[in-house]
Amino acid sequence: MATLIIPTPLRKFTGGESIYTASASTVKELLVALYTSHDGIKKHLFDDEGELRSFIRVYLGDEDINELEGVDTKLEDRDEVSIIPAIAGGSK
């Protein structure tokens, strides 16, 4: 089972739970398992074309999956994956 850490602002979709676990062989499988079992969370993670939203990053352990194989990054038992909202902005 892989573990997925839910960021605080998305926990309203997981009944307040910070951790979700599922059997998944890739990061994408884990994210799909999450949104098929939790209504409302999908649109905050994926756009209409099924791509990860630009302001959502995913880490495997302490590493950005963009430095690995993206959502196709393979998972092993007890891997820890984190959803990380990009935090940015500015006045103009």
């Binding site: 605080t8 602002p9 998305l10 309203k12 950005d64 990009a86 940015a88 500015g90 006045s91």
Partner: protein, 144 residues
């Protein structure tokens, strides 16, 4: 003012930290996280922590927090039994109103505190939350 949101009650020490950070970073934008708890009737901010603005280029109009710092903030909250309630940043010589850049990456549920800073010091502070329609509405900000 949107009464759908819980009032945001900020401890004076946390507010002082955010204001001081805004003034010290001037003319650049500062940024950081704040923590506390949410009860049935209010959000209580007990702690603000400064985070490095990692935006490359001109930091007078932009800020960015690294993924690693975000991950560390979530882990800190879990370890301390606190909730990560939101993000603060400053708008140097600009009102504390969210910009399109703030809106583009905003998350639901988080409170977004903006500190407006003039050369003479902090001018005003306001707090915002995203609505289900992905627009920002102001929330009531109280300093205790």
């Amino acid at each position: 003012m949107n009464d759908q949101f819980l009032p945001l009650n900020v401890a004076e020490s946390a507010m002082t930290e955010m204001r001081n950070h805004g003034e010290e970073a001037f003319p650049n934008e500062c940024c950081g996280f704040f923590y506390g708890e949410e009860t049935d009737g209010e959000r209580i901010v007990t702690l603000a922590k400064r985070i490095e603005n990692v935006k490359e280029g001109d930091q007078r109009r932009r800020f960015e927090i690294s993924g690693k710092d975000y991950l560390a903030a979530e882990r800190f909250a879990a370890r301390e039994g606190l909730s990560l309630l939101g993000i603060y940043h400053s708008h140097p010589v600009h009102p504390a109103i969210p910009s399109e850049h703030d809106l583009a990456v905003a998350m639901p549920w988080f409170s977004y505190i903006i500190v407006s800073v003039e050369p003479s010091g902090v001018d005003h502070v306001r707090s915002w939350q995203l609505t289900p329609e992905r627009e920002f509405d102001e929330e009531r900000l109280v300093v205790n």
